[in-house]
Symmetry: C2
């Protein structure tokens, strides 16, 4: 093995609702111990069963605003009178340690990340077709017909957001989608643009 | 599977001498039937055992010059009073058919390809260290000491050419290098920049 400690990859993952992101990420994490999932901060109250530092960092609005002022958030948004966002420090620590860090995030947040961390790798997970998306939304059995109709109506615009991402992963089977993501992460680590000193490392390597 | 016929990838592969490119490509081709190796054209005479269309396309200087004038060569060079180069037509045909096409080529040729085919994927295969490179050059037993010394002296400059390539593949073990190349090819096919119509394909896919 090449004996260098490498900085990890910052991996942005987005998907239209019903794209199947959750299942794919679960399997990806099961298979890859080096991966870390970023934990968001929020000012909303914890729900039953939610743990601080696991599901969210639960912080006050004052703390959140101070973080914003100190540029301590990678991205954030206000939603229903609460703040949600990604604290920079734990992500940075993991990257330094060589872990790849996944940010599961919606499209607006993904755009913010690209601006502050242009060397991130961004993936958009897509259903193979609108019909499959509809089937999956209905299959959950958790949404009302009204909600399903709304989501399908929004899906076309959501799917077109793929243009802002580096890679498109089609969620046809979970197995193939996970293999695709693993290939992307492996390949990105071999990019010369991420290894500007590679020639000197080889020349100086005993 | 996503049922679309896709254009193949044009894959430029270079290496310092002794980098181990030959062994890696042989194993890569053994494992990937969809890959095609580009055949160069040359004006030099065939050597015993060399077949037209297999080892080279053997053509006359007039034919070669006409090809250059007609922009029918992807790249070419003159060496020891003979021309060597890559005919465009067979490569283009394979790409259209969906095959990935490998051009095994030196650095100058690689630069020419990047100019005429900026969507190519370029890989530079590197030895893990100068010491390993030296060991491999000596291990061949085919070179004189003088040639080995010359090659080692040139190796540093050759290795620094990695900066002109998209990906650096370290030839530590053949198995890992082949896996790395397979990951790169798989990932490149998922790049949104290669699939500009992907959103519409999904939206229109029954």
């Amino acid at each position: 093995m090449f004996p260098m400690k490498r900085r990890g990859l910052l991996v942005v993952v987005s998907s239209p609702s019903g794209g199947g992101k959750g299942t794919i990420l679960k399997e990806l994490f099961r298979r890859n111990e080096n991966l870390k999932m970023s934990v968001s901060a929020t000012t909303r109250a914890p729900r039953p069963g939610e743990e601080h530092g696991v599901h969210y960092y639960f912080i006050t609005k004052d703390e959140f605003k101070t973080n914003i002022e100190n540029h301590a958030m990678l991205e954030y948004a206000e939603y229903c009178d609460n703040f949600y966002g990604t604290p920079k420090a734990p992500v940075e620590k993991w990257l330094e340690e060589g872990h790849d860090v996944v940010l599961e995030i919606e499209v607006q947040g993904g755009r913010q990340i690209k601006k502050v961390a242009p060397d991130c790798v961004s993936l958009f997970i897509l259903p193979p077709s609108l019909k499959v998306l509809e089937k999956r939304l209905r299959g959950r059995g958790t949404e009302t017909e009204e909600v399903i109709e709304k989501r399908l109506a929004a899906a076309a615009d959501e799917i077109r957001c793929v243009k802002d991402y580096d890679y498109a992963v089609i969620n046809d089977t979970v197995e193939q989608a996970v293999l695709d993501i693993e290939a992307i992460l492996a390949a990105e680590k071999l990019r010369v643009s991420r290894e500007k000193d590679i020639a000197e490392r080889i020349l100086n390597h005993a």
